[in-house]
Symmetry: C2
Subunit: 217 residues, 2 copies
């Protein structure tokens, strides 16, 4: 559901590894909350239905070693994963489009716990511009370049209607945004050097409807 | 970013096809709004960066034919795609967990335009139970089975803390829910016959941070 235009050779981990690391993090966080001290890759493998050699390989990218027969120290593994994934740093982002989904994402304080700090929103709707959503000020999109510079924004989240997705992305890139998180089903195209991550929630819905076999045809 | 336990051989389309169909829909909706009448698979291919023979193959699952040298009629293709994907039908769903993300998703009226109708929420927090979010009533989770039956709910959306994800999923399955849309990073396990779709927004974030090369290490 996700494609990336890599723009750096540094730390270019395989995408499937990056996808699995947050699963491990979720599981060790759960163990930590339950006061479990050590976990083996075999145990993680059983719980998450991932091959244990794959887990050892994925975790080898981190600067952490398990102990023979005991496994990984849970607290250290949790910290190492959060750090490695960038969830403990703060990445400033702008929300582009403050309609239903955009406003919902701005209001989701959970993103902040994963290192994403939405510091501003932009829109073209005069009824919204100048207001705040969840304490975040909404500006006219014409001020994007100024905001990107002033607020040290590198990531832009796109939650606009399909019609404007490409235009908005072009404006974002011109304003200096380096990473675009696209929540629209439109396939945004960007020049090399700009990262795109697509979260295709409507594709997931379509897949679920299809697999449930609930469609009348 | 998405795994499915298929439970039916009926209409078992390849997952990549189902993932691409909403892209085509987004694009033809855009064309329709711009009063374009016909579109060729070559044109769609150029715009979306998908091979044109792949597009023809994907669209062959639909009951629609393009005309030689003219292509597909845009309005008919849009209708056929929406219908095929189930976006024009109404699928009743319950939101499990009405914290930050859950409340945000309940408030996202966009989901309804894609056929998902959230008809109730359940929670364990006494401060929220009995209230409404975006006009949707929130009940105690103990009433889930009754709600599923009374409101004809087949889909449950999981937006609870990682600690409770598996327990909540077990409760949902016991209550008769057939499809689980998991927004937590926890790898929920379900018995055969229950469909799981994972929307791993935190994995997408991790991937973006990594590809942007903004991590301090």
């Amino acid at each position: 559901m996700n494609e990336i235009n890599p723009n750096s050779n540094r730390d270019l981990l395989p995408e499937p590894t990056i996808r699995r690391l947050p699963w491990y993090l979720a599981y060790v966080t759960l163990l930590h909350n339950n006061n479990v001290e050590y976990v083996s890759s075999t145990k993680i493998a059983d719980e998450l239905n991932v091959d244990s050699s794959q887990i050892a390989k994925d975790l080898s990218f981190l600067n952490i070693k398990g102990k023979t027969r005991i496994g990984y120290e849970v607290a250290s593994l949790e910290t190492a994963l959060r750090d490695f994934l960038g969830f403990d740093q703060s990445h400033n982002a702008v929300m582009v489009g403050s309609g239903s989904l955009g406003a919902a994402l701005i209001s989701d304080s959970g993103l902040q716990r994963y290192g994403l700090k939405i510091v501003a929103g932009v829109d073209v709707n005069p009824d919204i511009i100048g207001s705040q959503i969840g304490g975040i000020p909404i500006y006219h999109v014409d001020r994007l370049k100024e905001l990107v510079k002033k607020l040290n924004i590198r990531i832009g989240i796109v939650a606009v209607p399909v019609d404007s997705a490409q235009d908005v992305a072009d404006t974002m890139v011109a304003a200096g945004i380096k990473g675009i998180w696209n929540f629209t089903p439109y396939r945004i195209r960007v020049r090399d050097g700009v990262v795109i991550a697509n979260t295709s929630i409507y594709s997931h819905l379509a897949l679920m409807y299809n697999r449930l076999g609930t469609l009348n045809r």
